[in-house]
Every structure is written in structure tokens, then in C-alpha cells.
């Protein structure tokens, strides 16, 4: 770790903390229907939407009705994305003439975007038309994020309301999240990104003349359309001189802004935010990585404000930071140490004023080690899943950090809305455990936590690990190891040994926690993974949202219980320790065996090489 590493980490965390209060305050006003400063401009749009949709913003829903609305909206959104991807060859704004996505790929991408996972099974610049990027992907980036925020706000209402049956109106929460929070922030960020060099246009790809033409060996294709071979069976090649380069174009900045702010993460280009047109400068990188944690961080403040005790929000945020910051330092340290066998070959991996050094395979020079590491931790702490470096090429321990952050259940910041409601489930478990120790009925924020809440919270906490571990087991038992490509059978894994297994474990950890990042060497755009990961994403999104809303309904119905002598205060250090303990213990106990087979074995192999 160099001095500059500490400066960049400190800057990132510092600026993030400075945004928590202003944005948290703003969102608190938005979700309580109070004037927020943008009403004059956006109010007319909001009211027009309600009028056309026949929504009475004052009429509220019970939890089951709210959950039904969420599901219906998500299923419809899924169907719409699927249709566009299947029909993109017949729709406009397709200057590169891309064909329709295959059914399994379209299914996977549609589930992925409707569940706010944004697992990227496709390569953007080689498969997606401009229309698909806008109408299918950008729209779900907005509304799936807004859905997550809406459900969180419903849960917060569960804590603040007393003896009532309703938890708010989903259509209002959805509209206000999109129109007042996500849209204005996206406009600002998109324009800032364009100023740095992110492309935003509707032109076809541009051709430029290479300064130095390069030659390549091209296989000679015989009469039958198959590559020709010589007498010894080797492919015959011919020299081909390449003198032009294609520059990919399109409306990228508008998509990328919401991809970061909505913790979506599905990239415009294949390599996501490592692409120089998606993330051209250190400044664009800083803005993007800040945007990943911006809303999840500020929502903690919103939560504290809405429940009437801001310290409650800070306690949750501090618990998140206590887990997050050491893991950032861990991944940066691991990557900076480099790879012993490379150093032995005469490669200089020492950090100096002249180079960042470290393990630079799969990393961009302008980001170096520290910005790659901060991003890897932030994108997996939040359920964002965008990348600015290739996690598959990380050192074993460096790659373990993002994997484990996902396996913790995406509650350290987590997805917009979904991260905090996931963390509140852990808070319920923490006060319950504390209650058991002193033999009293636990309470949280003035509400008694009883058997029903505990059952639902346990479901929320246990379903994702179940999906991850069963999915990984099924895949490595054979189904996920080989796939048919034309007449050949090819391997899905890009790396041998323990690292290949890590690719599979990472994929299911990502889908099973709605993250979306990948050890991208895994060939996942084929029927088995497209289907299995699609199902994993669906279960982990909605089988969690429904019990969470059930808790919201149950809490709203309860009376207020004033704090007594035996109540555990939930805004102090003791609570932070208990909460962090609950998250880490569940995460460690569930996943240590699985991690031991992958990154830990690989680490031992690497140091022994």
C-alpha cells in the first residue's frame, strides 16, 4: 500500500460520507410527500402520470396488494424486455444490423434487468441495438431500481406506523423514486460523463485508419466453408493486413449513468466500465464508483430520518462501513502484492512513481491497482456488478473479496433499497439474538419482534445461500462444465483447477444475490447458464421481497412498544457490533467450505509455485 492508495481510499469514503446527509434529507422529503425543491418542474409530470394511470395517490395498499403490484409490474417489465430483444432485428435504431437474441439469452437478460441484477450474458457492442439499449435495458435500470427503493420505503413505513393495515401505494413510490430521485441524478451524471469522453450519439460505428497497419494470420476457408488444413492436419493460414479500426458508438452515457446510480451494473459495452468509451478518465471513474454507493448510503440517513431517530440510520451505515473499508484495503493489498511466479520471470511489479505495479492482468492503466480494487469492493458491496477490471484475473485473495461481499447477501450497502431492507432483516436477527441472551421479547424501533417476523427474516437470509450453493453444486456436477457449440463440445470454464471452480461459484454468488458481476471467463451465454442463472436471479429477488413486505405489513399492524429497561438500544456501538457479527457469522459459516475449495486452495497453489 502506497501513500497514494490511502489518499484515494480516504477521498472516496470521505466524499461518499459527505453526500449521505444532503441526499438522504432530499429522499426523506420525497417519500413523505413533502416539498423537495423540484416539485415545480416535476410535479406536473407526476400528476399527469397518476391521472392517465387512474392512480389515486392518497389511496394506500395492504402488504399483499403491494406485493402483487410489485410482482405484476416486474413480470410485465420482463415480458417487454424479452419481446424487444427477440424482435430487435425488425425494430429501428439498429445501425449495425444485429440479429435477434436467442430465446435463452433474451430470457436471461430480461430476468437479469427486471430483477436489478444486470448479469451481463451478452456483449453490448456485438449484440445489442441502440433501441434495445434504451427501451429495454435503460428503462429497467430505472424501474427495477425504483422498485427496490419502493419496497424499502414500505418497510420503513411498517416501523413508523401504528395499528394500521396499509403500507403505502406502490405506484406512487415507484413514480416518485423514478421521477424525483433517479432521473435528475442520472441527467447530471450522464452529462458529466459525456464531458469526460463517454460517447452519446446515434451514429453507426466509425472507421479510422490505423497509424501502423498490423498483419494477422487468417485461416484459409476452403470450398465447403470449413477451414482448410494441410497434409499434417494443421490449419493453413494467410497473411492479412488490417489497416482500419472500428470505433463503437451509441447512446452510452445515458445508459451508464443510471446503470451506476440504480446499482444495476449491466454495461453498455462488453467489458463494462473497463471500456475506455464507458469510463475514459480517472474523473469519470471516481464519479461512477461514487454513484454505486451514493443512493444505498444516503438511504440509511433517509431511514433514520423517517423513523424519527437519525442515529438509527447512522448505526446501520457505520456497520456497513466497518465491513466495507477493511475489505477495500484487503483487495487493494492483495492485488498490489502481485503474482510471485510472474515476478520470477523478470517482471517488475513494484509500485513506484513510474508505474502502479501489482497484478495488472485484466486492469486498465489509468485506474491502476487502487481504483480497480476500490471499484471491485464497491460494486460487490452494493449489488451493482459493473466492473472496471476483470475480476477473473485477480489474485486468489483479491478475487475472494468481491465474491464474499456478494455472499454476505448484498446487505453492505447492497442494491438501492434492497440492500437496506436486507440489512434490516439482519438487524431483526441481531436484536432477536440479543433478546435471547437476556431472556426478553426483543423490540426494534418500538415494535415487538415475534415469531412471525423471525420466520420471514430467516427466509430472507437463508434463501440466497441456498440458491448459490445448490446452483454451484448442480453446475459443477456436470451440467455447467461443457456445452455444445455447433458440432463441437467445448468447456465452459476458461481456467483449469480451483480457479475454474471459482468461476462457477462466483457466477451463482452473483446471480443468487442479484449482483451481476462475473468471473467473465466462464462461458455463460449458453442454455444451461442462461436458464439456471435466470432462475436464481428471479428467486433471490422476489422470494425475498415478498417476506420483506410481509414483515412490513405485520409491523404496521402492531402497537408501539415504548423502550423499557430491558430494551436493547439500537443506535450505539454494542448494536453495531451485534449487527456486524450477525452479517459476518452467517456469511462465514455458510460459505467458508465453498470458498476453501476455490480461492483459498488457489492461493496456496500460487504461493507454492
Amino acid at each position: 500500500m502506497t501513500a497514494n492508495h490511502w489518499i484515494q481510499i480516504f477521498l472516496f469514503v470521505g466524499v461518499l460520507l459527505a453526500t449521505v446527509k444532503p441526499l438522504g434529507w432530499f429522499m426523506s422529503r420525497v417519500f413523505q410527500g413533502q416539498p423537495c425543491g423540484l416539485d415545480r418542474v416535476l410535479g406536473p409530470i407526476e400528476r399527469l402520470f397518476y391521472r392517465l394511470a387512474g392512480v389515486d395517490p392518497k389511496s394506500e395498499m395492504r402488504w399483499k396488494s403491494y406485493a402483487f403490484a410489485v410482482m405484476l409490474f416486474s413480470v410485465l417489465g420482463f415480458a417487454f424486455v424479452y419481446l424487444i430483444l427477440r424482435l430487435q432485428d425488425r425494430l429501428p435504431l439498429n445501425p449495425q444490423g444485429f440479429s435477434a437474441n436467442t430465446p435463452d439469452s433474451a430470457f436471461n437478460t430480461a430476468v437479469s434487468f427486471a430483477t436489478n441484477t444486470n448479469w451481463q450474458g451478452y456483449g453490448g457492442e456485438t449484440t445489442m441495438s441502440y433501441l434495445s439499449q434504451m427501451l429495454a435495458l435503460s428503462v429497467q435500470n430505472f424501474v427495477s431500481a425504483a422498485t427496490g427503493i419502493a419496497v424499502l420505503i414500505a418497510v420503513i413505513r411498517g416501523f413508523t406506523r401504528r395499528s394500521v393495515e396499509t403500507i403505502g401505494n406502490f405506484w406512487v413510490d415507484l413514480t416518485r423514486s423514478t421521477v424525483y430521485v433517479l432521473l435528475p441524478l442520472s441527467i447530471v451524471l450522464a452529462l458529466a460523463l459525456v464531458s469526460q469522453g463517454v460517447v452519446q450519439n446515434f451514429q453507426p460505428y466509425q472507421s479510422v485508419a490505423l497509424v501502423q497497419p498490423i498483419s494477422m494470420d487468417e485461416p484459409v476457408i476452403g470450398a465447403g466453408g470449413t477451414p482448410s488444413v494441410d497434409a499434417e492436419g494443421n490449419a493453413i493460414t494467410q497473411k492479412k493486413v488490417i489497416s482500419e479500426q472500428q470505433l463503437p458508438m451509441g447512446p452510452a452515457a445515458s445508459q451508464i449513468a443510471i446503470k451506476q446510480l440504480g446499482t444495476n451494473g449491466g454495461g453498455y459495452f462488453n467489458v463494462n466500465s473497463a471500456h475506455p468509451y464507458e469510463n475514459p478518465t480517472p474523473m469519470s471513474n471516481f464519479l461512477q464508483v461514487l454513484s454505486i454507493l451514493l443512493i444505498p448510503g444516503a438511504l440509511c440517513w433517509t431511514f433514520g430520518d423517517m423513523v424519527g431517530d437519525r442515529l438509527q440510520g447512522w448505526a446501520i451505515l457505520i456497520a456497513m462501513l466497518v465491513i466495507f473499508v477493511p475489505l477495500v484495503i484487503g483487495v487493494v493489498g492483495a492485488e498490489q502484492s502481485g503474482v510471485p511466479s510472474q515476478i520470477a520471470m523478470g517482471v517488475d511489479e513494484v509500485a513506484s512513481d513510474m508505474q502502479s505495479g501489482g497484478n495488472m492482468e485484466g486492469k486498465e492503466l489509468r485506474f491502476g491497482i487502487v481504483n480497480s480494487g476500490i471499484w471491485a469492493a464497491a460494486t460487490t458491496a452494493a449489488s451493482n456488478g459493473s466492473v472496471n477490471s476483470m475480476h477473473d484475473s485477480y489474485t486468489p485473495l483479491g478475487g475472494l473479496v468481491p465474491m464474499w461481499l456478494m455472499q454476505l447477501g448484498e446487505v453492505v450497502f447492497g442494491g438501492v433499497g434492497s440492500g437496506l431492507y436486507g440489512m434490516l432483516m439482519f438487524a431483526i436477527v441481531a436484536v432477536f439474538v440479543a433478546g435471547l441472551m437476556v431472556g426478553r421479547t426483543p423490540e426494534y424501533l418500538g415494535k415487538k419482534i415475534e415469531a412471525y417476523e423471525m420466520k420471514m427474516a430467516a427466509l430472507v437470509i437463508l434463501i440466497p445461500p441456498l440458491v448459490v450453493l445448490i446452483g454451484t453444486a448442480v453446475a459443477v456436477s456436470g451440467l455447467g462444465l461443457d456445452y455444445a457449440s455447433g458440432e463441437d463440445v467445448k468447456g465452459n470454464l476458461n481456467n483449469p483447477g480451483a480457479h475454474g471452480y471459482s468461476e462457477v461459484l462466483y457466477a451463482f454468488s452473483s446471480a443468487g444475490n442479484n449482483n451481476g458481476s462475473a468471473f467473465a471467463g466462464l462461458t455463460a451465454n449458453e442454455p444451461f447458464y442462461n436458464s439456471a442463472l435466470g432462475i436464481a436471479m428471479w428467486i433471490s429477488r422476489f422470494w425475498l421481497m415478498i417476506p420483506v413486505l410481509a414483515i412490513a405489513g405485520s409491523l404496521a399492524r402492531k402497537k408501539y412498544t415504548p423502550a423499557g429497561a430491558g430494551t436493547l438500544p439500537t443506535h450505539n456501538t454494542l448494536f453495531v457490533v451485534l449487527l456486524v457479527g450477525a452479517v459476518l457469522l452467517v456469511g462465514a459459516l455458510t460459505f467458508v467450505p465453498a470458498l476453501a475449495l476455490g480461492p483459498i486452495v488457489e492461493h496456496l497453489q500460487m504461493t507454492a509455485m
Binding site: A209, P276, G521
Partner: protein
């Protein structure tokens, strides 16, 4: 429950129009008006001809040019239409063999350099389109390029300095040298011909 169908359909339609049509259209309009150069790919022009972009690297392997990082795009390196990293893990023999081969090529081309090879010269970037090399990697190649072009090493170092971007505000990112820009300024500089 049936009461939900109308709001659901109507709101999905309206939000699609707002965030999928109006929003990208607004951003494009403003971007094209205010940041025309950046929004269209920051293309570098020489004598009326587009020769590249500030942000998209190109492959260089000739003796008269500074070399870019290895690239994992296919079928050729630095294929702008299909970004890709190698996704090879640190213990993968394929990666170690590739790095070993690259070290040998670099060493053979720079017989006078005795130092270890800077890591970015032998590892593929995440995008396969990385426009930069480190100042260390540029310094490593100074002798070869100066020799091939008949320029003094001081002059070549001045050109490197002119195409080096420091950390933003002295803190963010890493110092890096734009390879395409550097090679273009070498071509303008002249020196002896091939």
C-alpha cells in the same frame, strides 16, 4: 387485484417513454450541443483524416513506435468493435506461458535494458483497448525508439513528457502515457525514415 392492471400497463408505458425515449434524447441533444467532440468519440484528425481516438488504443509493434500493452481482443488485438479481457487467472499456465513469451520478445527488442520489464508491457488490459502505458514502460522503450528514428534520447523523453497525463488533482488515477498520441507526435517530429 384487478384494479392493478391499468396502472401497471399505463405506468410501464409512460415510464418507458420518459426514461427510454425522452431521457436519452435529452442527453444526446445536450451532449451534441455542448460536448460535441467527446460525445462522438474524441476522434483525432490528421490532415483531414480520422486516425484514431484519444481513448481507444491501437496495436504497435514496429521498431519506430512505442508499443502498446498486449490486448486480448479477437481476432486481432485492439479490435475496437469487440472489447475483451483475457480472463485468465493468475495460476493459469496459459497466462504464465503468454507472459513468459512476451518477456522474451521485449527483452530481445531491448538488448540494452537490464532492468525487469514493467508489468503493463506484458499483461493484457481489461478492455483490450487500453490507450495507455505507464511512464516506466515508456522509459523502457526510449533507447530503441530513439535509435530507430535517429533522435536523441532527450528529445524522445520530451515527447513522452508532453503526452503523459498525471493524476487528476494530483490524487486520482495513475500517471499514464497515451501511446497513440505519443506515436503521432513522433511521426510529426520526423527523424530518419524507414
Amino acid at each position: 387485484m384487478n384494479a392493478h392492471f391499468r396502472p401497471c400497463l399505463v405506468l410501464l408505458t409512460l415510464l418507458t417513454l420518459l426514461t427510454g425515449v425522452a431521457y436519452p434524447a435529452l442527453i444526446t441533444a445536450v451532449a451534441q450541443a455542448v460536448f460535441h467532440h467527446q460525445a462522438n468519440g474524441s476522434v483525432i484528425m490528421r490532415e483531414g483524416k480520422a486516425v484514431g481516438s484519444d481513448f481507444i488504443g491501437q496495436a504497435f509493434d514496429g521498431p519506430r513506435y512505442f508499443w502498446s500493452r498486449p490486448s486480448a481482443t479477437g481476432p486481432t488485438s485492439y479490435n475496437g468493435a469487440a472489447s475483451s479481457g483475457s480472463n485468465l487467472g493468475p495460476t493459469n499456465p496459459a497466462l504464465l506461458d503468454a507472459i513468459k513469451g512476451r518477456v522474451e520478445v521485449i527483452r530481445a527488442a531491448h538488448p540494452n535494458e537490464t532492468k525487469s520489464v514493467p508489468v503493463d508491457l506484458v499483461t493484457a488490459s481489461a478492455s483490450g483497448l487500453d490507450p495507455h502505458i505507464s511512464p516506466a514502460a515508456a522509459e523502457y522503450q526510449v533507447g530503441r525508439v530513439a535509435n530507430a528514428r535517429g533522435l536523441s534520447e532527450e528529445r524522445v523523453r520530451e515527447l513522452i513528457a508532453g503526452n503523459t497525463e498525471g493524476r487528476t488533482f494530483g490524487a486520482l488515477g495513475e500517471p499514464c502515457v497515451n501511446v497513440l498520441r505519443l506515436n503521432l507526435s513522433l511521426d510529426t517530429e520526423g527523424g530518419n525514415q524507414e
